[in-house]
Symmetry: none
Subunit: 224 residues, 4 copies
């Protein structure tokens, strides 16, 4: 047990004198009345794809699950610990969140691992190997395409995996689609780390650049 | 499958014109050379406790696992999908991260559920029930203490659970303590949503306010 | 034989009173001294992807081959008529063009036809069927991937086909790579009709958004 | 494989900030609903005779084949790759285009090559030699006429070749003349690079200056 990382303490001081200072009341209210996040966001652990940053969200907005490669396993009501399923259950059943976003991103290390058939287990437990086996059939099919570049195969699997997770989400009995009060809307998104571009999934499952409102890109509108 | 939430698209536009615009080069370099995050941060899904916000971290700094109540299960090398163990394995074995922080927070819904013996399963799968069973023995012992208020019991279990996760972390064979190159430093932290206070765990396991460097905390901005 | 289409005559009048009027001298010089185009551009017949429009090029700049799906067949020195090979020979051997661009585009009808195994011949000659057989092996491999959406398969084949044409270009003995006077540089590009985005091929064969110089997007800077 | 030509990237930026910016909606609609070009235009690769420029056409208007000397080979239903026949088939059978224009132009390098009996093959494959053999009988007859100047012989063959291509067009079974729904109208045109004059073929096969509507040729009526 060593000293707390100084970088984090410095960052925390910045938070206190900056953002917290500006949003003190918001934090107080959120503490007193509880959270009512508008969206469940299932994202990757990757340090370059933090959802609060990409969507410029403040405290209280996003309920966030982060695991390697932003995956949702299928519904498996057994006796195991299911981190992702537990978070999903809490978001939908307790917090009554009605928008769920699965957000993948480019250059995902988990997806890269899934596409490497020669990869050795990282430890005797082979946790990454087992976790990424959630997309193994898809990975094998895509890996066999030798006409696409490695980068194209990676992007393809990143997107197939998002659709796969969305299909898995729909196997949970309490995730009901529909426009009524119980109905949950599920969305897919893919973030390009290199260019900052966000791609969203349309009704056909394709990822397209969203229509953003025209707005003057002024330096002073920076929010972060 | 419905339209992508407008709130998120608006936030993304703010990101692009603001933070991304300022950090374009950093994103490009991070995309080209890969991530080298300094810290693995295990945090809660709670919308009020985003690690990048609290530690004022930019892209590339934190590899983040988020599950309900920021828990680490014990080492279980079986055939199941283990989201948290997989992320831990990737962080330590591939990214060579040497600082791990388990950050809990006040008013945690998962901990609250663990302290409610009358709580019904949220769905037939009872995912939250099973997930929170990771701290059941501790929860039962604390719940039986009728001298503490409910709020004190909640804070107590939040902190016990952090120590529990840290003990579980140490059951993973590849998580070796020590000051050599392989050695991993494990830290605990607890964030008070209401006041913005960060408490860090000391070598005895106690949570204390860290010594922050002196800096001109002007009367009107002082918070702690 | 009917009257010349009035739409074209009207357009021609616009050209004469507008662009030609502005560039009269340039046309005269080009007529007197001959063309010295800087680039051979192999593009699709598609009405939405005219190279002179997309690259804002004036008279004398681009030597343009346009066929269905912007394809280059492999080197076949036989007795047949080879429209594309003839244009390539003329561009490199007579005009001494040293930059060759193969530009594909989204939603290409030829590529769509290649991906439709049930497509009937369009006429007894089956010219499109035979022409698109240049990418048949690639089309079959990509078509068999049932995890990708139809749109993703289409984009994938559009890009594979560009790389295929570039490989075919390199089978022509007079197309020599290298930095000397004889050396030809071959480039790939893909145009997204829907968004206007241009993607260029990098040294790995991947298509990426080019780094464009920052410039103020002012209405009055319009050039066309 | 070298860097993408900067001239083209600069031109693309002009397109994006200018013409694309003005016609964004048109491109979107064309992407969504598909192209419905009114004319198939068979033109030369020559950099001085871009059809979209000469006819001031925007995206979606012209389906364009470009080969050396804007030629159409005769109908040959064999097993070879026929770039021009494939484009013709697609234009008439799929896009249902009913106006076809064969546009030649002055100072055509391909025609010049056809008129040079001493010309050596440009490469062992002799692709231009074989391609221009489509007009060899006509070229030999015109070349033998020593009363015409070289320039007159060139213009004469440029026009003969247009009529030759039109005759070849009519050998395709799916190119049916007539005023009914299936009927295709075929037109000839010849563009004078030096003066900007357009000549159109009349019902006798002669090339004449078209009657343009009287309109004030004012500087400010420029459209481009």
């Amino acid at each position: 047990m060593s000293n707390f990382p100084p970088k984090l303490l410095n960052g925390y001081q910045n938070f206190m004198s900056g953002r917290y200072s500006d949003e003190r009341d918001r934090y107080r209210v959120l503490a007193d009345t509880g959270q009512k996040p508008h969206t469940l966001l299932i994202a990757c652990c990757d340090s370059r794809a933090a959802p609060e940053t990409i969507f410029d969200c403040g405290p209280g907005e996003l309920f966030v699950v982060r695991n390697v490669a932003n995956m949702v396993p299928p519904y498996e009501p057994d006796s195991q610990f299911h981190a992702t399923s537990a978070a999903l259950e809490y978001a939908v059943q307790v917090l009554k969140i009605r928008d769920i976003v699965v957000m993948g991103h480019g250059r995902c290390g988990g997806i890269q691992a899934a596409l490497d058939p020669a990869m050795e287990p990282l430890s005797p437990g082979d946790f990454i190997g087992r976790w990424m086996s959630l997309v193994r059939p898809a990975a094998e099919q895509i890996q066999s395409n030798d006409l696409m570049t490695q980068s194209e195969r990676q992007t393809a699997l990143e997107r197939v995996s998002i659709r796969n997770s969305i299909a898995n989400l729909q196997t949970f009995p309490f995730v009901k689609s529909g426009d009524d009060e119980e109905g949950v809307s599920i969305h897919g998104a893919w973030f390009d780390i290199s260019t900052g571009e966000l791609w969203v999934m349309n009704e056909k499952g394709d990822f397209v650049r969203p229509d953003l409102e025209e707005q003057p890109f002024q330096a002073e509108s920076a929010s972060a």
